[in-house]
Amino acid sequence: MIALRGKATEVELSAPIARRVWKLVDAATLTPQRHSRAFLAGDDGQAPDGFDLYLSRSAASRPDQDATWLRLPEDLDYLSGGDVVSVSDDGERIRVLWRHQSHQNSILLTERCNHYCLMCSQPPKTREDDELLAQAFELLRLLPRDVAEIGFTGGEPTLYGQELIDLLRLCRNLHPEAQVHVLSNGTRFADPDFAAAWASIENPNMMVGIPIYGAEPARHDYVVQSKGAFNQTIPGILNLAQLGQRIEIRVALHKQTAPALPEIAEFIARNLPFVDQVALMGLEMIGLARANIPELWIDPTEYADELIEAVTLLDRSRIHTMIYNHQLCLIPRSIWPWTVRSISDWKNEYHAECASCNVKDDCGGFFFSAKYKVSENIRAIPIEGTQEPAVLQI
């Protein structure tokens, strides 16, 4: 697991830090730009003048510039030029907003949400956190022009309404080639005006990922703990589709949803066949999911038949389908071709058993949170196990 936040071990302020978001520059990435840039000094402490903020790694020498300076904790030593961080005004708290070497950067816009899903990995909070949105605007301005992928997540980003639209329009204008993915529960799109505002961004590279947990209201509303959610989310999807927007359907698989998976797949194929893709997601045992293990845990081997049936139906219906977050040893080989290595690098770990596994490189591995609950059926796949097609065609 890679740390995405930490506390500075030493801080020297020349004045309170006036801005939150900083793009790190090091000797290798030095340019004449100084605005919003912080210099990450090398081990020898050598640093050019003119930066408002200097940082050193945990064991490096302090630069001799007389400016605001802070020392990173050891688990943030991996940071380098091109990464973007936010720093609290007292210089103490550092949050990593962007790692330039990762393809899985996800920008948290809010922790507030109008749902309270049983398995939420990011438990919703009620306090105002608009600062996250402001930081996202800053971040977009600091990202390189050629950034390939940008993901936005929450909480529920659409709670911002027009401000989210403004952010995504800025994103399109500054990064027209980037693949943009936004996670939303979709309810806000039931408002035709909001759906129209979304479409007016006119970004053909933008996709919204919306979860569906049932083929009828009772199951979906229970999982998201919001009465009436299904009857807003589905019309929201229809509104977006009518406007030609790209849509991903996400189904998180657990005890409440996996048994109904064929039914959900049929519902999608018959009622929402226009969606661009469907992602069937393994459960992340973190956040609220940990509190609800009895209601949620099901060994993936127990829903293998349902998974095969759903993947087959969606595939035959020509809907691009992906299986996320599943370890290959827990799902039937016939559907391996639909699996995707999807666990964000910073959360990804492997089991001791995996050391001798022959298909580890093709496997999604585990969330670090799997330490809280893991299948008893994890098995290394031996060499002879790969005599069947071992090359994954993703």
Binding site: Y116, L118, G214, A215, E216, P217, A218, R219, D221, Y222, Q225, K227, F230, N231, I234, P235, L238, E263, E266, F267, A269, R270, N271, P273, L288, A291, N292, E295, I308, E309, T312, L313, R316, S317, R318
Partner: protein, 484 residues
């Protein structure tokens, strides 16, 4: 963390369920329920009792299944109605783009003398039974008046290759015209392949023309069905199929079979010939009623009952072939399954409603007569001109397409309002066949209890549903067929 509410909190508040339009059919102790657009589920007798007596609880697995399939809705819940409307609109969207298939009868002449064929002529007089350039030119005007963006021109006969010069002329003119019309234009020659030569091959290659041919099964059966001088129809057809596959491409030739009484009992041999020829689809067609029906007006259940075991044995054999890794599609099943498992209607002329006559396909006869369907042309050859819509030389496109001869049968046979069709559970999978019913009963609607069409299709629907439910492999195979 005590904030989570139990499932009960998210159930419907009352058992005040409203029924959405559905139809049902009892099959072997279970009840098939289909919703407005043909999504299906099977209920047991007790479950169906709850539904039909209005005795459903506020929540149960059954209630959830019925809600998911849009059979019932919570009072005031508009979403199921909206989704049904979208699905129904999707199903009927093809109607605004009518007449995709245009059949040009290039010549009635044929060097075969098949006994079941009502239209062909044995003649060397080119003038008498060939379509003229002048007639073809007016036919093309009509073709390009069709609203459909996809236009397929199919040359039929007799044997259309006997008037190959006309085919060359029509294809050249149509392609030139299409440079400004911008349609998705395709060509098919329906030929027995006996006259296939270098010139035809080269022409098909240059113009991306597809070949549709006849293959009735093993040589003895095929040659008995299709007599020609030399008794070598099968040998010429199979040689032609292989030549087209190798010189034009495997996807450029397909074969259709005509089922006769001699075919019955031999379905596996027939399919094996298709496998042997490298073909990946076969169309197990019913016995043709035309001819016999006209003479006796009584073609019905007897012939269907003789044919159904043929179809069932063939379908099961094809499923087993696929299970063994040999790809083969049964085309009629694929058409039905698309209607059953998706929101699409392929608009197959003999199994769609409104009927496919005129608006699915239209026939321009060699002499300029326009027919609503190929079967309508056959009837005319036997003296019944009910489905003659007009003549290219005398009538305008509007007069032809708005003729009573077309609109009458379309309206009268529309299954959504036809007695016994409108409340049939299989209506979404079925279609109207006014030509068949006119030929067998004298009216476009027909009498459903004695209709061979109805009996045959009901049996096929039940068979397909039974196999679909029977095992996972067949289910996934059928889903593949449906998505073709």
């Amino acid at each position: 963390m005590a904030k989570f509410l139990d499932p009960e909190a998210y159930r419907a508040q009352s058992a005040d369920w409203q029924l959405l339009p559905f139809r049902f059919e009892r099959i072997n102790g279970r009840v098939l329920v289909t919703n407005l657009v043909g999504e299906h589920l099977f209920l047991d007798a007790e479950e169906f009792g709850q539904l039909s007596k209005g005795d459903l609880p506020a929540d149960s697995p059954l209630v959830r299944r019925l809600r998911a399939k849009h059979v019932i809705r919570e009072s005031g819940d508009d979403l199921p109605v909206e989704l049904l409307a979208i699905k129904a609109r999707t199903r009927y969207r093809r109607l605004s783009e009518f007449t995709a298939l245009h059949i040009l009868v290039a010549s009635l002449r044929c060097e075969h003398s098949c006994p079941y064929c009502q239209v062909s002529r044995q003649s060397s007089d080119k003038g008498a039974y060939d379509m003229s350039s002048e007639t073809a030119a007016i036919a093309l005007d009509s073709v390009f008046r069709s609203p459909s963006q996809n236009i397929k021109i199919e040359f039929q006969g007799g044997e259309p290759l006997l008037n190959f010069e006309l085919i060359e002329e029509v294809v050249a003119t149509a392609r030139q015209r299409n440079e400004t019309e911008g349609k998705n234009l395709g060509f098919v020659i329906a030929t027995n392949l006996a006259l296939l030569d270098d010139r035809v091959i080269e022409f098909c290659r240059a113009n991306n023309v597809y070949i549709s041919t006849s293959l009735d099964g093993p040589a003895d059966l095929h040659n008995k069905n299709r007599p020609r001088p030399g008794r070598n129809s099968w040998e010429l057809a199979t040689a032609g199929i292989q030549r087209v596959r190798e010189e034009l491409g495997v996807d450029r030739v397909s074969a259709l079979m005509t089922t006769t009484r001699s075919s019955l009992g031999r379905v596996i041999e027939i399919i094996d010939v298709y496998v042997e020829q490298g073909l990946t689809s076969v169309f197990l067609r019913p016995l043709s009623p035309y001819g016999f029906a006209i003479k006796t007006k009584s073609f019905a259940a007897y012939d269907v009952d003789a044919w159904l075991p043929f179809f069932e044995e063939g379908l099961d054999y094809i499923i087993e072939l696929n299970r063994a890794g040999i790809p083969m599609v049964e085309q009629y099943s694929a058409i039905v399954l698309k209607k059953m498992l998706t929101n699409d209607d392929p608009g197959y002329v003999d199994l769609t409603s409104p009927a496919g006559i005129g608006i699915g396909a239209i026939v321009y006869n060699y002499d300029g007569d326009v027919y609503a369907s190929d079967e309508g042309r056959m009837l005319a050859e036997m003296g019944d001109k009910t489905f003659r819509l007009g003549n290219l030389h005398q009538d305008s496109y509007e007069e032809i397409m708005l003729s009573d001869a077309l609109l009458g049968p379309l309206e009268e046979s529309f299954t959504q309002s036809a007695p016994m069709c409108s409340d049939c559970a299989f209506e979404p999978y079925c279609g109207a066949d006014p030509t068949y019913h006119h030929a067998t009963t004298g009216d476009f609607l027909g009498r459903k209890p004695t209709s061979g069409f109805c009996r045959r299709n009901m049996a096929i629907f039940k068979l397909l549903l039974d196999r679909y439910e029977s095992d996972a492999f067949t289910r996934s195979l059928f889903q593949t067929w449906a998505s073709h």
